[in-house]
């Protein structure tokens, strides 16, 4: 019932169009289908290759993923051509322009030998015919010379939504890919044991390398210690600065300067902060690569985020709250402590979590100031200075580096090595996602409460 209704709708839509437009659109759709078949054929080929390989779960999985990505890229032009067909159907002038562009492009690709001559020629001829039919129809109908803005609107809406979906797709794809490949390695053992030998990555590579792939426990503890110490330094400083900027300062040259420098600090590349920490804290002040040096450098990095978010959330507190407090005879500091800080707490928390999420994944600064890939164990007595500590992001970088030592080995060794390092990445990713989702929820809650709902 529903299908017949839809078909009737479609049919009456087609009946209202001019015949020439219909023909042009059909030609363009044909060209689009030929173009799409490239992507589909590519995908079928890749699947065929995948199923015929000895094991589905191995290096061939990576190849099918790569092929699928390329297939998606190959299908994209056919989307554009399909949209052109829609434009031709609606007698839109851009449709004629686009289809002649496609015709030229396909002729050029066929002549240059980038795509096979026959298929390029077929698609080029189809597109050229579509363009000329559309053009002739347009000439014949002098009443239909104005492009319908609604058609452009529909087209724009569709393409813009597509770009939005790509943004979501990229994130989902990256997380899913790392999860699918790494999750096999994420076991309780992998996370908690002090040391798992590299045997875990398959017997092929046992004994080839002894560091730094192994149990993540020491690395997780190291990251946790480093980020906590970093927040201990950054929170008071950032919160103080935010309170001053939001509550005390008027807009004068001093606050403008302070804001300028905070923005500048946010823009300094992390590697430069790491380099300065390495030169001054580690070398000149003789801290060595250590917990304290790393925490101070990381605090430099996340300070601007803390300040910015905390200041914004304090400014979002309605003035009536403050006035009520002053009206009861409270001093400025009492007002700030009991009214402003308390009611903007979720916002401040968001900023802190945001900084924490940045700090936990930061590698460059940590590698230069807290401990590089050579550190594989937690020091027996953890000191603030003098002893380098292992951290999770640096573990991932070390795992990446050690992948190169398998290049001579069988493909399976590289594959398993990649899986192990992706397992570590997955642990870091999960920690990061938990932190950032918590901060998003905290912010939404805060905004809802302030808007009085």
């Amino acid at each position: 019932m529903r299908i017949t209704k839809l078909w009737f709708k479609f049919y009456s839509y087609l009946r209202k169009r001019k015949k020439g437009n219909f023909v042009a659109s059909a030609l363009m759709s044909g060209s689009s289908i030929v173009s799409a078949s490239f992507g589909v054929m590519h995908l079928i080929n890749a699947l065929n290759l995948w199923f015929s390989s000895s094991s589905l779960w191995g290096p061939s999985f990576n190849i099918i993923m790569a092929d699928s990505l390329v297939a998606i890229i190959l299908i994209l032009p056919s989307f554009a051509m399909f949209l052109t067909a829609y434009l031709l159907m609606e007698a839109h002038s851009k449709g004629i322009l686009l289809s002649s562009f496609f015709a030229l492009a396909f002729f050029a690709l066929a002549l240059l030998g980038i795509m096979s001559f026959g298929s390029g020629l077929i698609m080029g001829v189809f597109s050229a015919l579509a363009a000329s039919t559309g053009f002739v129809t347009r000439l014949k109908n002098p009443t239909k010379r104005v492009d319908s803005p609604i058609v452009t609107e529909n087209l724009a809406k569709f393409s813009l939504r597509f770009s939005g979906i790509i943004c979501v797709g990229v994130l989902v794809f990256i997380v899913a890919y790392i999860g699918v490949r790494g999750v096999k390695y994420v076991s309780w053992d992998f996370i908690t044991s002090q040391w798992i030998s590299w045997r875990h990555a398959g017997n092929v590579v046992s004994g080839v390398i002894d560091a730094p792939l192994g149990g993540l426990f020491a690395y997780i503890v190291g990251s946790f210690l480093l980020c906590s110490l970093c927040e201990v330094i950054a929170i008071p400083l950032g919160l103080g600065a935010a309170i001053f900027l939001a509550e005390y300062a008027s807009e004068n040259i001093l606050t403008k300067t302070i804001r300028f420098f905070i923005e500048t600090l946010a823009g300094i590349p992390s590697i430069v902060i790491g380099l300065v920490g390495f030169a001054f804290l580690c070398t000149r002040l003789n801290m060595g690569r250590s917990l304290l040096a790393g925490a101070i450098s990381l605090a430099f990095m996340i300070l601007p985020w803390n300040i910015r978010v905390a200041e914004e959330s304090m400014k979002a507190v309605p003035n009536s709250y403050r006035e009520a407090s002053y009206g009861l005879g409270a001093t400025k500091w009492q007002t700030i402590r009991h009214m402003v800080l308390m009611s903007s707490m979720p916002g401040i928390l968001t900023g802190i979590l945001l900084g924490l999420g940045g700090a936990i994944g930061e590698t460059a600064v940590v590698m230069l100031t807290a401990g590089d890939t050579g550190v594989t164990q937690m020091p027996n007595n953890i000191a603030l200075t003098g002893t380098a500590i292992p951290t999770l992001p640096v573990w991932i970088y070390g795992a990446y580096q050690s992948l190169f030592s398998f290049q001579g080995e069988a493909g399976q060794g590289v594959w398993e090595g990649q899986n192990a390092s992706l397992g570590g990445s997955f642990v870091l990713l999960v920690v990061f996602l938990v932190i950032s989702i918590t901060s998003l929820i905290a912010r939404n809650h805060f905004l809802k409460r302030l808007s009085g709902k």
Partner: protein, 287 residues
């Protein structure tokens, strides 16, 4: 009463100190980079900037690095602008709440995604893809793709803010004249929001230039980057150069100074980009 006043004053001074500390930190970083790197920078200005980087031969030429850093950064910026700006328009003008609530959080998560994880992803999948289809390997193209993903959320969210900041009267006037949403966007909103979008692009460029770990893992780390526009060649950028060589240098040596010189140049490039961004934004606001 007096004690209360004194306490208030002390607290205010402490808070002022906290706020001023960020000035101190920036000045400290600037001084550190200048002091350590000045000899190398002076050398570059006195004896030419040099075309090869070869620590074993005491040659520290920075021209190839400046070229490749900007080449990689600009390519990544263009790549992410192609998707980021339409996405910003969609979020600001067209999106229904349901899709918006999906896109916004995922952009925010993409912003903070650990760069080392993204780099490993690039090395494992994107480089495999490039090797399979072009015969290349780790190189500029892989760095473009990964950096493009990294700067996508910056471009999208800042451009969206810029488009949203366009006064409502302009939008309503255009709609009242019978223009469609798309006509309004193209003819009214985008021209007004142009400075903001430009600022977003520059900021994304600064981010791409300053990124270390994601690049180092996919770019192939050639010791002297080639000055050519071939995107399949392996190359190197300033940030990854520092990350590779910092461990081998000894304080006071020419190599150490040159590394800090590279850090200084990086600092200047990103600083200039940031100041440009701020100029563009403040000029558009004062209009």
């Amino acid at each position: 009463m007096k004690i209360k006043n004194v306490k208030e004053k002390i607290i205010e001074k402490i808070l002022l100190f906290c706020a001023v500390s960020s000035i101190g930190i920036v000045l400290f970083i600037t001084f550190a980079v200048v002091i350590e790197g000045f000899p190398a920078v002076a050398r570059w200005f006195a004896y030419g900037f040099g075309m090869t980087w070869m620590p074993t031969a005491e040659q520290f030429g920075i021209i190839p690095y400046i070229f490749s850093t900007l080449y990689v950064g600009v390519g990544a910026m263009i790549l992410s602008a192609i998707i980021g700006i339409p996405c910003a328009i969609y979020l600001a003008e067209f999106a229904n709440p349901k899709l918006r609530n999906m896109i916004k959080p995922s952009l925010e998560m993409l912003t903070g995604l650990p760069s080392v994880v993204l780099g490993l992803f690039g090395f494992v999948l994107i480089v495999t893809m490039i090797a399979r289809y072009t015969g290349g390997g780790p190189g500029v193209l892989a760095a473009w793709i990964i950096l493009g993903v990294m700067s996508l959320p910056h471009i999208a969210s800042i451009s969206e803010d810029a488009i949203r900041a366009v006064p409502h009267e302009l939008r309503e006037a255009s709609l009242a004249l019978g223009a469609t949403k798309w006509q309004t966007t193209v003819n009214v909103l985008l021209p007004v929001a142009k400075p903001g979008i430009l600022a977003a692009l520059l900021l994304a460029l600064g981010n791409a230039v300053g990124e270390t770990m994601a690049v180092i893992m996919v770019i192939g780390t050639r010791i002297t980057p080639p000055i050519s526009f071939d995107p399949l060649q392996s190359s190197n950028v300033m940030t990854s150069l520092i990350a590779q060589e910092y461990a081998e240098v000894v304080r006071g040596e020419l190599h150490w100074q040159s590394l800090f010189g590279v850090g200084f140049v990086l600092f200047v490039i990103v600083g200039v980009l940031n100041i440009l961004t701020r100029q563009i934004v403040s000029r558009s606001v004062s209009k």
